[in-house]
Symmetry: C2
C-alpha cells in the first residue's frame, strides 16, 4: 500500500456576470483558503498558469499568487503548475529565475509543474504551433533544469531557444532543483511523464480503477530502461485532479459543490474543444446553463443516496459528498497506487464560506485517516525505487561546463539569436489545420439541428468520409496495445447503417458492414454519432440518457476519444 | 515646497565568495527589512528586474519577491521596477498579467516601473538589439497599458509584437492601472519620461542642485503640449536613488555603509561599461578591491567631519551619515522639487543588522521631520497639475474596441505571428557594433600599461581618429542646448597636443589646435585621456587625484560622457 498526499488545485474561476471587486475577492479568498489548508494539513497547493481563458481561469501569474501564499503558510508545498514551457509564452531563463526565487522566499517548498499549453486561446494568442509544442516542451525542460544546476549555464542553441552562456540567478534552494511534474490528460502522456522521470499530474477525472492501470504503466516505465530523466532528479509520483465539496449531509455537499464541478468540466471542454469563443463577449456561464444537460452535466442525476462515489459515470460527480464517501473514494485511489489527489474546490459559483468549511471538515474527518505510517511508507517507496532511479539518472547527460574563457560579447550574441530565429522554416501543419477548421465548420452545421435535418445533410457518402477520417486520425500510442474491431450501428428513421473500424498495431482501417468479432459495439442514432464527432454531444451523457448503447468491453469506450485525436487540456 | 516620499531600493546584491545558503539569507533578510520599512513609515519598496548580473543583482524575478512582501506588509507600496519591456525578455501579456495579479494580492499597492534593459549581459543574453530597444519600450508600454484597460485587448501588430484580440486577465485593482515609471540615467531620459507623462526614477547619483534642473525640465514638459501620456493616467513624479546608511555616529555610518555604496556603483559600471565579463568566472568583488581607488571609489576620501553631504563629489558618498546630515541632504532634494528619494541599503557587503538599525533610526529620527502637511501639499500639487494632465490625456489615443464578432482562430493567428516575426529585416547596427568591438579591443590594449607604453602605441595619428570618432558619436539630445567649444590639452613626456571639439546644434566637429573661446578646457595626460576613452579610468577619480584639470564651465564636465555616447545603466 502506497501513501497518499492531498492537495488543493486552483484555476481562479470567475463565472460571469462580473462585478467590480470580484477579482480582488477571488484572490484574497484564495489566500485565506490556502492558509486554512496549510493549517489543517494539506500537503500541496497547485496553481495553474492559464492565459485569456475568461471565467475558466483568471490565474495567469501563479508565480505571484504562490509567492504571496508562501508568506501566509508554513508547511504546505507550492505547486507552481502548470507553467507553460513553449518559449513564446515564457522565456526559459525567466521560468528558471521565477521558480528559483519562489523556492527561496518559501524556504524550499516549490514543486515545478510543466505543460505544453493546449487551448486555441493560448496557442493562437502567443503564436505557438500545435505541431511544435511537444518538442518545445522537451527542449525547454532540458534547458531550464540545466540553468538550475550549471554554473554558469553553458548556453543553448536549438530550433526554438538560442541563448549564450550566462549564470542564471538565483539558484533554487532545493538541490539539484524542485521536483518536476508534467500535466497529463491521457494514458499516453502518463507514459510520457514516466519516460521523462517526472511526476504525472492527471486531469482526466478517471475512476480509481482506470487510474490504477495508468499507475501500473507509469511505475513499470520508471523502473525500466525507457526512463531517461528530463531533470537532474527523478520525481516518481502520480496525482489525479478531482472536484470536491464536503459536508456531513450529502445533499448539502451536492447542493454546494456540484455546479462548480460541472462548470469546471464544461468550461474546460469549452476551451479545449471546438466551441467558438469571442474574446470579451462569449458568456461561458450562460452557455453552461443552457447546455449543461446536453453536454453530460446534468444536475438531476446527482442524487444523495449514501452510495459509493462514481467519479465520472454519468454526470461528473468527483469527490462531492460526505466525509465517509470521500474517505472510501480516496481508499480506492490509494489501493490503485495513486500518490496524490488534488482537489478543486474553487470552481464555478462555489462559495468561499463553503470551501473553507469543506477544508476544515476534511482536515478533521478525512485527513487523519490517511496520515498514520505515511512517512514510513514513503521512505519504503523511496528505498524500493532508489536503484532504478540511480540507473535512470546515469542514463541522463550530465551538467556541462561552458567553453573555457567564454566572454560576454553582446553583438555576436545578438546576431546569433536573430539568425537562429529564422532557422525554423515557415510551416503550417496543413492537415491539422484543415481538420480543425473542418470540425469547426461541422459544429455549425450540426448545432441546433433536428435528427432529421442532420441525417438529410449527411448521407451514407458523408459517413464514409467521416469513418475514413477517424481511421486516419487514429493514434496508436493511445490504444494501449488494443487491437481488434469496433462496430458502430448507426440507426435512423428508416433502417440503419453499420460500420467497422479495424484497429491494428500501428493503423486503423474503416469499412462498411458489421464486424466479425467486435470487441465493442456502439449503437446510437446517426444524428447523435455526428453530434459527437462535431463536439456537440457528449458520449457519457448519451449513455446515461439511454441514447448510446454499449456491448462488449466497456473499458474501451472512454479511450475512443483519445484514440481518434479528441481534444485534451494539456 | 513639494512633499517628499521615501523608498527602499533592492538589487539583491551578493558579492563573492558565495557560500551555500547565502541566497536564502539574502531573500529572507530582505523580507524582514521590508517588514520593518513598512512599519516605520517608508512609502515604497522598489525591486529591480535584472538577469545574469552576478554579484550586482540576484533579483531576477521581482514579481515573486514583491508578492511575498505584500503579505508581510500593510501599507508600503510595491515598486515593481524596473520591468524590462523588450518582448524577447518578457512577453507584454505576461507583464500585464503579473502586474495585475500583484495589484490584486497586495490590495492595490503596485507601482509599475519600466525600462529598456541596457547591459550587454542582458541584451546579449536575450538577443535584444541595442538599436531596437527604445522603440520596443514605446511599443510595449502602449500594448501593456491597453491590456489593462481594453476589454478585450483589441490586438497588436507591430514590428516586435503580434497578438490577436484577447481578454488579458486579471485586471489590476487600481484604475485605469498602477502608476507608471521609467528608469532614467541622464537628463535626456528624464525629459523622455516627462514627454510620456510617467514618473522618472533616476539612477544618476546627482547632487540635489543638478537634480533640481532636471526636475524643472520635467515639470515644464509635463505641463506642455509635448506630454502625450504613454498610459491612461499621468504619474508626475521624479525620484532619485541614493546609497544610504544611518548612524548617530558618522564614522560608524561610514564604516557600515561606504563599501556597499562603492561596490554598488563599481559593479554598476562593471556591467554597464566595457569591462570584460566571463559568466560564472569573473569575480566582481575581487575586481572592486583591486581597482576601487582607480575607479573613483576611494574609501579614504570619505571622512567623518560632520559637514554637509556631497553625494557624488570625489568618491561616491550618497546618504551615508548621521540623521542630521541625511535630513539636511533630504531638505536640499526637497527644495529642488524631487518627489521621492529611494535609498539603497542592501548593497555589497552591508550587513542585515546594520540595515535594520538604519531603517529603525530613519523612522524615528528623520522621517517624522518630513511627514507634517505632506498629504495636503500633495493634494495641492495634484490640483495644480490637474488641468495639464487632463489636457495631456486628451492628446492620447483612447482605448479601442476589437473588431465586432472577432472569433479565436488558432491557425490563422499562429500563422500571422510567424509571418510577422520575419518582417523585421536582419539588420546588425554595424556602426554601433564596430564601435563597441573597437572599444573592447582598445581596453585590452590600454589596461595595465604604463603612460609611456600607451603614448607610444597611440601617436597623434591615432588621436585624430579618436577625436573624429567622438565627433561622430555626438548625441545632440544630450547636450541640453549647449553649443560652443571644448578644448582638450593632452600632455605627454615631451610637450603636448591640443584638440578642439566644436559642438554645434546637431553635430560636432573635431580639429587639432586650441579653441578660440573654450567653454571648458580639460588638461590631462594623453595616456589618461586614452584610458578614459577605453573605459579604464574614471574622470571623477582623475579629477580628485589632480590628474585632470578643468577650467571653464564645470557643469559641462559630467555631461560629456552622455554627449559622446558613454554607457548608461538603463
Amino acid at each position: 500500500m502506497i501513501a497518499i498526499r492531498f492537495s488543493l488545485f486552483y484555476e481562479h474561476q470567475l463565472p460571469r456576470p462580473w462585478e467590480d471587486g470580484q477579482e480582488l475577492k477571488l484572490y484574497q479568498d484564495a489566500l485565506d483558503q490556502v492558509e486554512i489548508a496549510d493549517r489543517v494539513g494539506f500537503d500541496y497547493v497547485w496553481e495553474v498558469e492559464h492565459h485569456f481563458l475568461e471565467e475558466y481561469s483568471h490565474s495567469s501569474a501563479p508565480e505571484v499568487f504562490l509567492a504571496a501564499a508562501s508568506q501566509r503558510t508554513k508547511r504546505i508545498r507550492l505547486g507552481h503548475g502548470i507553467v507553460q514551457l513553449p518559449p513564446a509564452v515564457n522565456h526559459p531563463a525567466r521560468i528558471a529565475e521565477r521558480v528559483a526565487t519562489l523556492d527561496l522566499v518559501s524556504n524550499g517548498r516549490v514543486d515545478f509543474g510543466t505543460g505544453e499549453s493546449s487551448s486555441s486561446a493560448e496557442l493562437g494568442g502567443f503564436g505557438v504551433r500545435r505541431a511544435d509544442k511537444r518538442a518545445q516542451w522537451q527542449d525547454a525542460i532540458d534547458a531550464i533544469t540545466r540553468m538550475f544546476v550549471e554554473e554558469p549555464f553553458a548556453g543553448w542553441n536549438s530550433a526554438d531557444i538560442t541563448m549564450p552562456p550566462r549564470n542564471v540567478l538565483p539558484k533554487p534552494l532545493q538541490k539539484p532543483h524542485p521536483p518536476l511534474w508534467v500535466a497529463c490528460s491521457r494514458r499516453e502522456t502518463i507514459q510520457f511523464a514516466a519516460r521523462n522521470g517526472i511526476g504525472a499530474l492527471s486531469f482526466s477525472f478517471v475512476e480509481p480503477e482506470d487510474a490504477g492501470r495508468w499507475v501500473d504503466d507509469y511505475y513499470r516505465i520508471i523502473a525500466s530502461d525507457e526512463c531517461v530523466p528530463a531533470g537532474f532528479a527523478v520525481n516518481p509520483n502520480v496525482a489525479v485532479v478531482l472536484p470536491m465539496m464536503l459536508h456531513e449531509d450529502e445533499a448539502t455537499a451536492i447542493d454546494r459543490g456540484i455546479d462548480g464541478a460541472h462548470f469546471f468540466a464544461f468550461a474546460l471542454a469549452h476551451y479545449y474543444g471546438t466551441t467558438p469563443h469571442d474574446p470579451g463577449r462569449t458568456n461561458v456561464w450562460d452557455e453552461f446553463l443552457r447546455r449543461r444537460e446536453s453536454r453530460g452535466f446534468s444536475r438531476q442525476e446527482i442524487i444523495a443516496n449514501a452510495e459509493s462515489l462514481n467519479v465520472n459515470v454519468g454526470s461528473l460527480r468527483g469527490a462531492v459528498g460526505t466525509p465517509d464517501q470521500v474517505t472510501e473514494l480516496i481508499r480506492r485511489y490509494e489501493s490503485a497506487g495513486v500518490d496524490q489527489i488534488s482537489f478543486v474546490l474553487q470552481a464555478g459559483p462555489n462559495k468561499h464560506e463553503h470551501i473553507c468549511e469543506s477544508l476544515e471538515l476534511f482536515g478533521k474527518s478525512v485527513l487523519p485517516r490517511f496520515t498514520e505510517g505515511r512517512d514510513e511508507r514513503e521512505a519504503e517507496k523511496a528505498e524500493r525505487l532508489a536503484p532504478a532511479i540511480e540507473a535512470a539518472l546515469a542514463r541522463r547527460e550530465p551538467a556541462r561546463k561552458p567553453p573555457p574563457g567564454y566572454r560576454i560579447d553582446e553583438d555576436a550574441e545578438v546576431t546569433r539569436v536573430h539568425r537562429s530565429s529564422r532557422r525554423r522554416p515557415i510551416r503550417v501543419d496543413v492537415r491539422t489545420a484543415a481538420r480543425r477548421r473542418c470540425q469547426q465548420g461541422f459544429y455549425k452545421l450540426v448545432h441546433g439541428r433536428s435528427d432529421a435535418q442532420i441525417e438529410k445533410r449527411f448521407g451514407p457518402g458523408a459517413q464514409r468520409v467521416f469513418f475514413a477520417g477517424m481511421a486516419r486520425a487514429f493514434d496508436p500510442s493511445a490504444s494501449a496495445g488494443f487491437t481488434g474491431e469496433l462496430e458502430f450501428r448507426l440507426t435512423r428513421a428508416q433502417g440503419r447503417t453499420v460500420w467497422t473500424l479495424h484497429i491494428g498495431k500501428s493503423r486503423a482501417r474503416a469499412r462498411s458492414g458489421p464486424a466479425r468479432d467486435p470487441a465493442l459495439t456502439l449503437t446510437l442514432a446517426t444524428a447523435d454519432f455526428l453530434r459527437i464527432l462535431a463536439g456537440d454531444a457528449n458520449p457519457a451523457s448519451l449513455l446515461m440518457d439511454g441514447r448510446l448503447e454499449l456491448r462488449g468491453d466497456h473499458y474501451l469506450a472512454p479511450r475512443l476519444s483519445e484514440m481518434f485525436g479528441g481534444p485534451s487540456p494539456y
